[in-house]
Symmetry: C2
Subunit: 206 residues, 2 copies
DNA sequence: AAAATTACCATACATTTGTATGGTAATTTA
DNA sequence: TAAATTACCATACAAATGTATGGTAATTTT
């Protein structure tokens, strides 16, 4: 038997990874439901194939006990939604352009997503090009918090400052001037609050 | 009924948090086994009490479906083993001195742990005082990687450089001189490799 | 063309799991 | 002192879950 995965096996494995990255391991029934199967024995067969090919391991008779075995990687890939400029706005992509191997950040706040920062306009806030910021879209930024926003169909990550009739987006780097937005600006939309940053060190070998 | 938890309820909740932070949700039987109960109905009662007090939620008839409800926090606390100096060595504590609310880093590499960095000796490596480093103890540092080590019963986080008969621990900050260690030094022990850093932004309101 | 593989379905069964109910002894509260 | 709570145990049952086995049709490989 080849180690090559069939289309459906890939889909199921992807689903398992996606669920795992939310901290869940589905049952056979749940997988069957997800893929529209009438019977969990269909999933049973696919999981069995994935196990034979070495992509996962089952623990007999234990519920929700599919252990992923992603080539000895410690990390589970998570999609990065787009690159975002700390300086000039960059386009945000509707689909993932990239995956980052986050240390299995599993239960990120619901709906939260990742953005990779480009540029050095936030370097005085200790955020550097290449860092990944974790954005919680269910929060409204308070003054002084780092926020992600969409401006003219592009995304920015800046320190947020609400004033009387305007919103200021500040860089920490004096080389960049603040962006001032009128409150009524239709082309401006707060996306969420940066609740954390993550930086992988594994490729930082000098 | 009070919202106060009994000793055993705290122990069970702690166990649930600990398991959750490894990406697992135990069954009643598994909890019973962990605490030496002969019967899972004992756990059933404790979980029921925890639910009534609002600390978790159960989804009826679904296995491994205890959802923790830690006061609407998005985050699950994880113990921070100790503070570690980027500059001068600081003591590493055997038990957690603190918990950090990591964005539910759930499947950290096995056995990995967190250290909070103090001091600015790694600032040129973009690691700052207060940052939390994720240390993987199952890796040996390569030259140039940031490593955590124990030196004279204290812990340091430094860039690692192996030379002929010595190991050099380099600061990125020119104010700190490199620490040079003889390979035979009994009081020196590599603890692991820093595989990532995490910084929470939530309290960074200026 | 024959054999193997793939993708599904159906059924049956043992185990696990969640849950309901009732009981006992010790401790705490009223 | 009486009542309530706590911490355990035991039993019973339904639902969920994993697993074994066999089948069909389509596709791919040999």
């Amino acid at each position: 038997m080849s180690k090559q995965l069939t289309k459906i096996q890939v889909q199921i494995l992807d689903f398992l990874i996606s669920e795992k990255s939310c901290g869940k391991t589905p049952t056979l029934s749940e997988i069957a439901k997800k893929f529209g199967y009438n019977n969990r024995s269909t999933v049973q067969q696919h999981i069995s194939a994935l196990e034979k090919k070495g992509f996962l391991k089952r623990n007999p008779n234990l519920s929700r006990n599919i252990e992923l075995n992603l080539e000895d990687k410690f990390f589970i890939p998570r999609p990065v939604l787009g690159e975002v400029a700390a300086g000039t706005p960059l386009t945000i992509y509707p689909d993932a352009i990239d995956t980052i191997e986050l240390p299995t950040i599993a239960h990120l706040p619901k709906d939260s997503f990742l953005l990779r920062v480009k540029g050095d306009s936030l370097k005085d806030a200790y955020i550097f090009s290449g860092d990944v910021v974790i954005v919680n879209p269910n929060m409204l930024p308070q003054n002084g918090q780092i926020a992600a926003a969409i401006l003219e169909d592009a995304a920015v990550v800046k320190r947020f400052q609400r004033e009387d009739d305007t919103i200021k987006l500040l860089s920490e780097n004096p080389e960049y001037a603040p962006i001032v937005i009128n409150k009524d600006n239709q082309k401006f939309k707060i996306v969420g609050v940066v609740i954390g940053i993550y930086r992988s060190m594994e490729k930082n070998i000098v």
